[in-house]
């Protein structure tokens, strides 16, 4: 167990949207300007609180997508009927303000000092905190071998598609594979289907490499993948998980 850090009081701060970037039809990235942002580790999250004119508040957690060392950026997937995400994805504009608190969560994090190979397994928008790790690796000039296995419905639902294409070419030691669950591109080697033990064995690391595995996505996806990894012989202590319900 790592030594703990004494943390300051966790309080709500005003964040201003500095920029917005569409990612897919249903997801968008908000780059935030948070005065006195204390910095974050790859994989951490923040709480967002919106307050209506009548004082009603709604609060949700969102993973940080950006690398440490820069301003926090959140990538938000719209949940239809949600209280927070439709505003963040469809309405919020640069200059708008809302409250955040964080960063929080020290468990589902990766730091460049960790030298074990890394397997990242994303289900849908579970790619967001994993993208922070991919960016952190590049920003630190780390040579730790990374593999990202990204399960998504169709090519159109891939978040960060252009950046992932570029990084798979430029970030040496980073491998990226996709598992399309509904529609695969014509040239894709595998028919649409759920991520399974065969794909994890092909694209993951052998257990004797003792990789650190990070699995993030909807609860059912995370349960399935984490069980497959442990059944394959990976040390449960090295299979870290984050579930966002669904």
């Amino acid at each position: 167990m790592a030594r703990a850090a004494v943390l300051g009081r966790l309080s709500w701060q005003v964040a201003q949207i500095a920029a917005v970037r569409p990612e897919t039809d249903t997801a968008r990235t908000l780059v935030l300007d948070v005065p006195d942002w204390p910095g974050h580790r790859a994989g951490q999250h923040v709480d967002v609180r919106l307050t209506a004119e009548d004082g009603y508040t709604a609060q949700r957690s969102y993973s940080i997508a950006s690398a440490p060392g820069g301003p926090p950026a959140l990538t938000v997937q719209r949940v239809d009927g949600g209280e927070v995400s439709p505003y963040l994805v469809d309405i919020a504009a640069p200059g708008d303000r809302f409250e955040v608190r964080g960063p929080v969560g020290g468990y589902f994090t990766w730091q460049p000092g960790d030298h074990a190979p890394v397997l990242l397994v994303a289900g849908g928008s579970g790619v967001v905190p994993l993208m922070s790790m991919v960016r952190a690796r590049a920003a630190a000039g780390s040579r730790v071998p990374f593999r990202l296995l990204y399960s998504t419905r169709t090519p159109a639902t891939v978040i960060y598609a252009d950046e992932l294409r570029r990084r798979s070419r430029d970030d040496h030691g980073l491998d990226i594979a996709y598992a399309y669950t509904r529609v695969a591109p014509p040239e894709h080697p595998r028919p649409p289907g759920r991520l399974d033990a065969v794909l994890l064995a092909e694209w993951g690391w052998p257990t004797e490499f003792a990789p650190n595995c990070y699995v993030c996505g909807p609860t059912g996806f995370v349960e399935t993948v984490a069980n497959l990894l442990v059944d394959a012989g990976h040390d449960p202590a090295r299979v870290r998980t984050e579930r966002f319900g669904g």
Binding site: M1, R3, A4, D47, V104, T241, G245
Partner: protein, 87 residues
């Protein structure tokens, strides 16, 4: 009912503690299983937050908040092991 996990406890517990308790490990008072708090099953669609053991599903922790106070029930945990900050 869909559950989340203990990562979601990070901010609510940081309201009252100065260390990140999600990286602490604890032992289930019912079955003896040890786990990191971030790994527990968390049920959030309740009047408060309810954490359950991943082994036996016994309630480990309950946290209920009102505008001016917090009720924290840890009776389902026989202990927590928490890394100390350096002096």
């Amino acid at each position: 009912m869909t559950f989340l996990d203990g990562n979601e406890l990070a901010a609510p517990l940081r309201e009252i503690f100065t260390v990140d308790l999600t990286v602490a490990s604890g032992q289930c008072a019912n079955c003896g299983r040890r786990c990191t708090l971030a790994e527990v099953r968390l049920y959030a669609r309740a009047p408060g937050l309810v954490a359950r053991c991943t082994g036996c599903e016994a309630v480990l922790l309950r946290l209920v908040r009102s505008p001016d106070r917090v009720w924290l029930d840890l009776s389902g945990l026989s202990y927590l092991e928490i890394a100390r900050p350096p002096d």
